[in-house]
Symmetry: C2
Subunit: 333 residues, 2 copies
DNA sequence: CTGTTAGCGCATTCAC
DNA sequence: GTGAATGCGCTAACAG
């Protein structure tokens, strides 16, 4: 392997000067600088990033810890993050936690031993890894979910407001008996969206009926089961608000299986957009999250945090947007 | 930062012994080993991965260079790769090349300077980065596409056969005037799938009509435009085979926009599955690729290549599977 | 089986 | 503005 010493010898300068030239320091004689560049080209020299990392006690890696890259919510978010990383000179290490606190912790551990420059995390319910990273003062941005007791930069969406807007849209369509499938009680987004559901009902003077609420696991199977359970009610709901994309798919599958259709049999609004939501027939009304922007914003915050580790943490809340499509068409009399 | 020397001092042994214990070498007195472990725990010592990397002249990083993580084909593939990486002790660095040879080359360069242990690449048309990596003898697995002149482990699907099967299915449904939208001429998958289309026609004794073939860019917009152009033909096709998922979506959008429906106005088979293909109405007939398996297989090959760099490269070809759904229903008389 | 020693390749003091 | 020297933390020789 050719090293900085080889380049130094070849160009008749010291290794220190080569290092200065390569890291773009200004205080180098242009003439020497030129010699060094020439030697680099002749030798086909390539700096050793690992050695640099050791010396600087930090790498150019960011980790992104999410539950599953196959969930389009995270896919797009990761893309947004990676775009920022690329322009800032970082690389993104993809970590699928599958909502498993142990995996999250294992990745957190890797972040520390590999000296990664920063992390973006969507915390699991117990947030074990997040606590570990917070303690180690690793530059970190929380995404999608809050974690009690951890002070860190955070990017959220306006969950309560978005959910309320979606539910209000159903109420405006003439529906009153509106059910809700939301996520686990320990997850802040699940509770925030449930709160939005409740507040929309309250605003409309519709009494809250806890028999119409289901807590599932934010996954397809959970949405399917919750839908089944709602349909078995003595008096099934006439409309439904589902608080994430995978559970919405599950609910749709359950309806399809039973030969039921939205909005005729049950009107539907889902939280979080789905690619091809327009191509599904009937097309799906959603409370869309700016997923790409979430990732991008997280990247920007992380960059700033690395530049100024001492600064007090900030929280950015992005707005959701109601995409009215066919499944929430007004009630027919 | 606590180092291996601190642990050594604390436990009354040499740094070398600490290193041996931590890297799981067997030839260490159990008693000393125990002491070391105790000291590690007491001090909260954490090995420095970067230093280890420098010493060993290699990291535990794999890069995966794909055109776009937002394409569900790659999303699932990356997931498969990451699952293998995790069990083998590697981390995956995500690289979106956007089909841009310059970006591919930049990532290849990063792979080299950061001393990553291996790469999985879906090559861009000119495969600049791939050539660079091949020259440097970096452990590499090519995925989805072949590259002329590069000897490397490769994972492909049975493109020609899968395409032929999809087209034959249309022919069996009574269609004769069948169009094809495929990808760029320089991309092996595009040509292989086109070859499958032709061979199915030939087998059925249907003459090949090049006016019914379009080369687009494998993206949504390209599929849309190609569809438009086919519909403007004096005698539009009665069926269509589209050679990737994004272009299929584009074609569907074009049909929707014009108020046309599959299969009544035009029957449709797409190459590569789409999540929710079942939920789209009419549901979409596809030649499904085992995307997760592609990623998993690539990971396995990469692992083997790293273990035995000298071994001659192998090519694995996975089978596609025809998923018959509604858009290819037999022709009505 | 264990300890001593050296050096991976670089960036950064500190002199000059 | 430049060069010599040092050490980041670890593992692999080698000697004992």
């Amino acid at each position: 392997m050719t090293t900085i010493y080889d380049v130094a010898r070849r160009s008749g300068v010291s290794p220190a000067t080569v290092s200065r030239v390569l890291s773009g320091r200004r205080n180098v004689d242009p003439e020497l600088s030129e010699k060094v560049r020439a030697a680099v080209a002749e030798l086909g020299y390539r700096p050793n990033g690992v050695a640099r990392n050791l010396r600087k006690a930090s790498t150019n890696l960011w980790a992104v810890v999410i539950s599953d890259i196959e969930n389009p919510f995270f896919t797009s978010l990761v893309r947004g993050l990676e775009d920022v990383a690329q322009t800032e000179g970082y690389h993104v290490v993809l970590c699928n936690s599958d909502e498993d606190p142990a995996k999250e912790a294992a990745y957190a551990s890797a972040v520390l031993t590999e000296q990664m420059a920063g992390v973006v995390v969507s915390p699991t319910s117990t947030a074990e890894g997040v606590l570990q990273l917070a303690e180690a003062k690793t530059p970190m941005v929380l995404i999608d979910r809050r974690v009690d007791g951890v002070e860190a930069d955070t990017v959220l969406v306006d969950n309560e407001h978005g959910a309320a807007e979606g539910v209000k849209h159903l109420i405006d369509g003439g529906y009153e008996r509106i059910a809700c499938i939301t996520g686990p009680r320990r997850v802040s987004t699940a509770m925030d969206r449930l709160a939005g559901y409740r507040s929309a009902l309250r605003a409309a003077g519709i009494p809250y009926d806890k028999d119409l609420v289901r807590h599932a696991d934010f996954r397809e199977a959970g949405g399917f089961a919750a839908m089944e359970s709602l349909l078995e009610l003595p008096e099934p709901p006439e409309a439904l608000f589902v608080s994430n994309n995978l559970m919405t798919v599950g609910a749709l599958e359950c309806l399809a299986k039973r030969g039921l259709r939205a909005p005729d049999d049950i009107a539907l609004v889902g939280f979080d957009d789905i690619p091809w939501a327009d191509l599904v027939v009937p097309s799906l009304t959603t409370v869309a999250q700016p997923t790409y922007e979430l990732g991008r914003t997280a990247g920007l915050l992380l960059k700033d945090r690395i530049a100024a580790p001492g600064r007090p943490p900030s929280t950015v809340t992005l707005r959701t947007e109601l995409h009215v499509r066919a499944t929430s068409a007004p009630k027919q009399k």
